[in-house]
């Protein structure tokens, strides 16, 4: 055990954690919006809209995240037309490519989580709202969405942890996130175990925090039975 290396690499890895957290928060924020949008599309009665939303989630859940990042980072740059548009400003940056890929990926999983939450809402609640003369819009925003959020909290907590682990793939497109820096230190010092303990410890700490925050929220928003 090389404790000196563990001490010297800790600040470097902690610095890289900032990028990991930035990637995670940005992709979760945009992913939640996309997820909610596609969950609503999935519940639409129109078969084309429905199939489109299903296709999106099937495509992104059926392929590895690595393929998705590579298509966006290496693949899209190949299209000539794209290079002349303003989109190129975003797509030439690995940082934004990673965020786009993570957003689309977590959006697909989130849409499935929210869809099943919407579908398990007791129809009696919606009927009760209707019989009280509440408009459909208000039923949706004030009754269905809060219940669906509560229902999907445990599954969404898992998704946040999976996404946190997913951000490690940003290191494959030259971003120096926690895993990227860990790999760099490992390949220069050839001390994989020490670096793994420090970097893994940071990841576990983040998992621990996320897990407990979700647990707290679950308790806070649990129905009083």
């Amino acid at each position: 055990m090389d404790f000196d290396l563990m001490f010297t690499s800790f600040p470097k890895l902690l610095g890289a954690t900032v990028i990991t957290l930035k990637l995670l928060s940005a992709s979760l924020f945009f992913g939640l919006i996309i997820g909610l949008l596609f969950a609503i599309l999935r519940l639409n009665k129109n078969i084309f809209i429905n199939k489109f939303a299903y296709g999106y989630s099937y495509l992104f859940r059926g392929t590895p995240l690595l393929v998705q990042i590579f298509i966006i980072y290496f693949g899209l740059g190949q299209i000539e037309h794209l290079r002349s548009t303003f989109l190129w400003v975003i797509l030439k940056e690995p940082y934004w490519c990673a965020i786009i890929a993570f957003t689309l990926n977590t959006g697909a999983y989130t849409s499935e989580i929210l869809r099943s939450a919407f579908q398990t809402i007791n129809p009696g609640i919606i009927e009760a709202g209707k019989s009280l003369g509440i408009s459909n819009k208000i039923i949706f925003y004030k009754i269905q969405i809060p219940i669906a959020i509560r229902q999907s909290l445990p599954a969404y907590g898992n998704e946040i942890i999976l996404m946190m682990k997913g951000t490690s793939l940003a290191s494959t497109v030259t971003l120096m996130d926690l895993t990227g820096v860990a790999k760099y230190i490992i390949s220069t010092t050839f001390k994989p175990i020490e670096v793994f303990i420090v970097a893994g410890g940071i990841y576990l700490f983040m998992t621990f925090i996320i897990h407990n925050v979700i647990k707290f929220l679950e308790k806070k928003y649990s129905f009083s039975q």
Partner: protein, 230 residues
């Protein structure tokens, strides 16, 4: 389309073999995972605190740390660890383990952590009377687990194991960083030499979709088969 031709002109045969490699790694990782799960599930359910701790240590660490980091640990640390063990037995030559074994071990240990959780859940949902009946009949713990609980548990575990299989299959794409020529690595090579990354990575995505689709169909069949009589 000529990019996908078989033979020397295209990448068809290379990608075909790469797909077989992906399947081989996934299957062997899944079996290594089962092996670990069969060891750690009894640990997690044990009455002894210390065994419990070992079981929880394994699943918590592996499920809380990114797969890529675990793969780097095995890739950079694997041969070092083997050489250290060999040196105890008096063998000091350089040992290189091939990428297939490192990759399947790394992914296997990851998938084992998920399988352990699935097995634990399935065992806990088995009727308590089964355990008591085994105890009354004087069957020892070992036989009870492997002959009575395990066969019943497998039926309950299949739907969740199919999720573990999907995760394992997708995780194998990460082994490409170690240089093992599976779908992702082959696409990377092909994209590099033809300067057509969009086409090859999209094709890789299609191959993965195909694999997940086919395995879903097979697992659905298995589910029907093992639910016969219920």
């Amino acid at each position: 389309m000529e990019l996908l031709a078989f033979g020397k002109t295209g990448w068809g045969d290379e990608l075909f073999y790469a797909t077989l490699m992906t399947i081989a790694v996934s299957v062997s990782a899944m079996f290594i995972g089962f092996f670990f799960a069969l060891i750690f599930t009894p640990f997690k359910l044990s009455k002894f605190k210390s065994l419990n701790l070992i079981g929880n240590f394994y699943t918590t660490i592996i499920r809380g740390v990114p797969e890529l980091l675990v793969i780097y640990l095995f890739f950079f640390g694997g041969s070092g660890a083997i050489m250290y063990v060999a040196s105890i037995f008096g063998y000091f030559e350089y040992i290189e383990i091939n990428a297939f074994i490192t990759g399947s071990m790394a992914i296997g240990i990851i998938s084992g952590a998920y399988s352990t959780e699935v097995f634990r859940g399935a065992i806990q949902s088995i009727d308590k009377g089964q355990f008591e009946a085994a105890k009354v009949l004087g069957i020892n713990k070992f036989t009870q687990f492997y002959k009575i609980i395990l066969p019943q548990m497998l039926r309950l575990a299949i739907p969740n194991l199919s999720n573990v299989w999907q995760i394992t299959l997708k995780d194998t794409s990460l082994i490409s960083v170690t240089g093992l020529v599976e779908i992702m690595r082959q696409s990377y090579i092909a994209a590099g030499s033809t300067r057509d990354p969009l086409f090859f990575y999209c094709f890789a995505a299609i191959l993965y979709l195909m694999l997940t689709y086919i395995s879903m169909k097979i697992i659905n069949r298995l589910e029907i088969k093992y639910n016969r009589g219920y």
